[in-house]
């Protein structure tokens, strides 16, 4: 399923300064991700996965290197252009959900869809697809962690973005729900050709990916193509 790279990172470096200490979260990352692929980024805790996703999503700025997405170097975008990028090109699923607590499940998804405009998916549809058709009018505080995570997935997918970034989307789900969520993502990936980058520390999940990017200590040390990925339902962890 490989084609022209949608995403191309070159020598990307990201530091954090903590007092007098400098932590290098990403240490010269170079990787290409072709359009339409379902990519899993695999690495232990603290290896820089979330940082990588943040850079891809335009939430943080790299210290050095270039990040080309869809032919555009997003490290050079103005704040206003970055906002448009986040709004229309990226759907982000956070590890800690980050739903707006004052909005119901439907309203959370609705807000994202409304911002994305005409090409967005129907919010009710998306919620139904993640199995929350019955809980649309509940507030995040009234949903379980797994349910919140599914709302977050629906929110990211409803925008119908070019690129979906998911940070440990199954981290707080039980196995069955986790598989369901992955299945929804995989199905959409196949139907729409959207590119998915899914971060996990769970190597079992990597078996469903078209491509696995292995990261450790802020460095990509292996990229493996997977010509015959498993279906999520075939995975066990």
């Amino acid at each position: 399923m490989s084609g022209t790279p949608l995403i191309s990172l070159k020598d990307v470096i990201k530091h954090y300064v903590l007092g007098s200490e400098q932590i290098t979260a990403l240490d010269g990352v170079t990787v290409d991700i072709p359009a339409g692929e379902f990519v899993v980024v695999l690495g232990p805790s603290g290896s820089g996965k979330t940082t990588l996703l943040n850079l891809l999503g335009g939430l943080e700025a790299a210290a050095a290197g270039t990040i080309c997405v869809d032919g555009e170097d997003i490290t050079r975008l103005s704040e206003a252009a970055l906002t448009q990028y986040r709004r229309h090109k990226v759907g982000f699923v956070f590890q800690f959900f980050n739903l707006l607590p004052t909005l119901t499940a439907l309203e959370n998804v609705d807000m994202a869809a409304e911002m994305a405009g005409a090409h967005a998916h129907d919010p009710r549809d998306m919620l139904a697809r993640v199995g929350l058709g019955e809980r649309m009018s509940h507030y995040p505080g009234q949903l379980s962690g797994g349910q919140q995570q599914r709302v977050a997935v629906a929110r990211a997918l409803a925008k119908n973005p070019t690129l979906v970034l998911a940070d440990e989307p199954t981290g707080s789900l039980d196995k069955e729900t986790g598989i369901e969520v992955l299945q929804v993502m995989r199905d959409l990936n196949r139907q729409t050709g959207q590119t998915f980058v899914v971060v996990t520390h769970n190597s079992a999940i990597s078996t469903i990916a078209d491509r696995v990017v292995r990261i450790s200590g802020g460095k990509v040390y292996m990229v493996v193509e997977n010509p015959e990925p498993f279906e999520p339902s075939e995975v066990d962890w």
Partner: protein, 788 residues
């Protein structure tokens, strides 16, 4: 409290410096203003009361014909009388040092009290007491106004001989009787430009008027607990043989009554503001505390999950509130106390024109404590209720995202007609009302403060400016006994430089309505007069018919009269029944206006009497005309109307400046309140706004959303503030009412507009720094932690 919780408390104070400082500042500034406004007013009243007691201010004043000392003895013998003094009181003209002042100045010269124990003693504040015939002491505020100093020599005109004589000013005094220069019931407001008071030794004054051994003023105090009405009756009977001219008690003696009413009104207003400051800052502190607890739900859940008891959690927040209230009061009260000095100074210079003797400004400890305690209780309740609720929910529930509380009905509506940001703002307001409650309350309190302050100016303008404008003449000439209209007219017109004259008749009348009796001034004016116009508040237009009388708004209030009521009116022993045709606006005095045509129906043969002439003059001959008018036979007074209005305006302006002080305090507090509550609300939603930004919401949209919320909350506060503001202005308006003065209630539309504009501006400015904070949030943190 557990050691770990104590550590958390200290750690929180350090970490949450911003939040703590916001709560603390709001409360402390509230304490400062609370402790500086009312206590200053209270101490001013205490100064007056102290002066009244130490100088034995009279309870009753009797003006009598010249009488031997037996009159004083007769009064002393009456039941219930404590102290009596007899004295001589005369009025003389003061010739100006240089003729730079255009109007005549009258000095009321009174014989010196003989001892400290005399009724209406005076306090020499500069120089010394007069000792021989050529020496006087002068009212201090009057000396200040006319730039007269100790050692100056004045020329006085008056006395039997009629020749001017010179006296040296050897001292300046203040007295409880004449702290302000009110001349008499007809002009209750101080007129320092044209009227002052002086004291000289009895023998010297008596010699000038050929009155050795006699008195014409008897002043007395009633024994403690004596019934003043009974004392008055007894003394009046005792003095009857000596020819009583005028009887006044403290409510009627215009200088005493006007000052007491103003001091009391201003103290009341100061109290209103003190309480607004206290409850405004207390309520906002409460809201901020409640929000603080709300934002720490997760923490409370964690503490509980780790095994803290509910009591420990509660104790922690109560300790937090206690620290705020105690340190806030400890810092705020002394600063507030220091501010009472300039405020008290302002009271003295504004209301009296000079410092009062026996100055003292003790701190009002009880008031301070009550304020601090009220603030603490408000903070405790505000912190305890949500803390207890959070502490009693299952720790697991407390760890979840907060679920909107106000989430029913309207909050659930889709509101598709609104733009997205507007819709979300409204949802936020309806679903998390607590978050913006501080802003709402701030706007409400701010509106009350601004509207009251501006409305005082509205009142002054609406009532006083109108009053000056409805009296369009230069001088009022008063003659001792009523004469025929034609005679007075011809006399006055004969003076060169007079360009117009109208006459009127003023007599004291007794007015009865149902069981109320009131002594008012009856004022009869020509039906077609031009120099005096009226604004009718109610009923038929003034003087539109001769079927009845028109009441000034003060008499209407004092009598409780209504249009159409029938009054029993008694003038000089004769009674008549008249109908109230209408009410006219009249800020000073409590007159009953009678059309001359109606009056003439009551006079023998329908003659037209007059004892007042309203005179217009050629400006070039103003000074000469005034002198000639005062020299006409029978003339006992020539009042310069423009000068009088300036004096009145000076006194009225003080009230306006006084209101500005509160406006300044109030705007500052409002700003602190709005700034802190908007800041707190933004801090609370930092994470939420950051999440929205990660979804591609632009900064512009965030600004729009926050502005919508701020404006909706401010708007709600303004709407809530309308009725309280209206009521407070009504309350403040009637505070100035005395029997002889009172304002007609008004709030100009521009006052409302100004309040709205100012508060919207304050709200917009307040949200700017926290919005700038949102711009700098690191969006990467959103994906790495639960909270930004």
């Amino acid at each position: 409290m557990l050691n770990s919780l104590r550590h958390k408390l200290i750690g929180d104070l350090k970490a949450n410096r911003g939040a703590f400082l916001a709560v603390w500042l709001t409360f402390t500034i509230g304490m400062v203003f609370y402790n500086s406004t009312y206590p200053a007013g209270g101490n001013f009243k205490n100064l007056l009361r102290g002066l009244n007691e130490r100088t034995h201010l009279a309870d009753l004043w009797y003006d009598i014909d010249l009488a031997p000392p037996a009159a004083v003895d007769a009064a002393r013998a009456a039941a219930g009388v404590a102290r009596v003094s007899g004295r001589l009181v005369f009025e003389v003209g003061l010739e100006q040092k240089e003729a730079e002042t255009e109007s005549l100045v009258t000095l009321r010269v009174i014989s010196m009290p003989e001892s400290e124990e005399d009724v209406n003693n005076i306090v020499i504040q500069e120089g010394r007491a007069p000792e021989d015939a050529g020496e006087i002491v002068l009212m201090r505020a009057f000396a200040r106004r006319h730039d007269i100093r100790v050692g100056d020599v004045l020329r006085l005109a008056g006395g039997i001989a009629g020749t001017p004589w010179e006296v040296e000013v050897v001292g300046l005094f203040s007295s409880a009787e004449y702290l302000i220069a009110s001349r008499g019931p007809l002009s209750p407001f101080p007129t320092l430009s044209t009227f002052g008071v002086a004291y000289m030794p009895y023998d010297a004054l008596a010699a000038r008027y050929d009155a050795a051994g006699q008195v014409n003023s008897v002043v007395l105090t009633a024994a403690d607990g004596a019934d003043l009405t009974a004392v008055r009756a007894a003394v009046t009977e005792a003095l009857q043989p000596y020819g009583i001219q005028l009887i006044m008690d403290r409510l009627q003696q215009p200088a005493v009554a006007t000052l007491a009413a103003n001091a009391s009104a201003n103290t009341q207003i100061a109290l209103v503001f003190s309480l607004i400051f206290l409850f405004g800052s207390g309520a906002v502190m409460a809201v901020l505390m409640a929000r603080q607890v709300e934002s720490e739900r997760r923490l409370i859940g964690t503490m509980r999950a780790m095994g803290s008891t509910r009591g420990e959690v509660l104790g922690y927040y109560l300790a937090f509130a206690l620290i705020v209230a105690v340190t806030g009061a400890l810092v705020g009260a002394p600063i507030g106390y220091l501010i009472t000095y300039p405020v008290l100074d302002f009271f003295q210079s504004g209301m009296v024109g000079t410092e009062l003797p026996f100055f003292s400004n003790p701190p009002q400890l009880g008031f301070m404590l009550v304020g601090a305690a009220a603030g603490l209780v408000m903070a405790w309740v505000a912190a305890a209720v949500p803390a207890w609720r959070a502490a009693t929910t299952d720790p697991g529930l407390a760890l979840r995202p907060p679920t909107p509380s106000g989430a029913g009905g309207l909050a659930r509506a889709r509101m598709a007609f609104l733009p997205r940001t507007g819709r979300q703002a409204l949802r936020n307001l309806l679903r998390v009302p607590g978050r913006t409650l501080g802003t709402v309350l701030g706007a409400t309190a701010g509106m009350a403060i601004i509207v009251i302050s501006f409305a005082v100016w509205d009142l002054l303008d609406f009532n006083f400016t109108h009053y000056y404008n409805t009296n369009a003449y230069d001088f009022v000439v008063t003659v001792a006994e009523p004469v025929l209209h034609d005679v007075l007219l011809r006399q006055v017109e004969g003076v060169e430089g007079v360009t117009g004259v109208e006459t009127g008749l003023i007599l004291p009348v007794t007015v009865e309505l149902a069981d109320r009796t009131y002594t008012a001034l009856g004022v009869a004016l020509a039906d077609d007069r031009e120099f005096i116009t009226f604004e009718t508040i109610e009923g038929a237009p003034a003087f539109s018919d001769k079927q009845g009388v028109w009441l000034g708004n003060n008499l209407e209030r004092a009598l409780g009269a209504r249009v159409g009521d029938t009054l029993q009116v008694t003038v000089q022993g004769q009674s008549a029944t008249v109908t109230v045709q209408g009410i006219v606006k009249q800020v000073l005095g409590a007159p009953m206006y009678v059309p001359m045509s109606l009056l003439q129906e009551w006079t023998p043969l329908g003659v037209r009497p007059a004892n007042q002439a309203y005179v217009r003059v050629d400006p070039a001959r103003r000074v000469d005309v005034q002198r000639e008018l005062s020299g006409l036979p029978g003339v006992i007074g020539v009042a310069d109307w423009p000068v009088t209005t300036q004096d009145i305006q000076r006194a009225a302006d003080f009230e306006g400046e006084f209101a500005y002080i509160f406006l300044g305090f109030g705007m500052f507090l409002t700003f602190v309140v709005m700034f802190n509550s908007i800041n707190a609300s933004m801090r609370e939603r930092r994470h939420e706004l950051a999440v929205m930004r990660t979804q591609g919401v632009s900064m512009g949209e965030v600004v729009r959303l926050v502005t919508w919320e701020t404006m909706l909350a401010t708007g709600a506060g303004l709407i809530l503030g309308v009725l309280p503001s209206y009521w407070l202005v009504q309350y403040v308006t009637q505070l100035y009412d005395t029997d002889v003065a009172g304002n007609v209630f008004v709030i100009y539309p521009q006052t409302w507009v100004a309040a709205v504009v100012i508060l919207v501006a304050i709200a917009l400015v307040s949200q700017m720094p926290p919005l700038r904070g949102v711009r700098t949030i690191n969006l990467g943190d959103v994906s790495k932690s639960v909270n930004v």
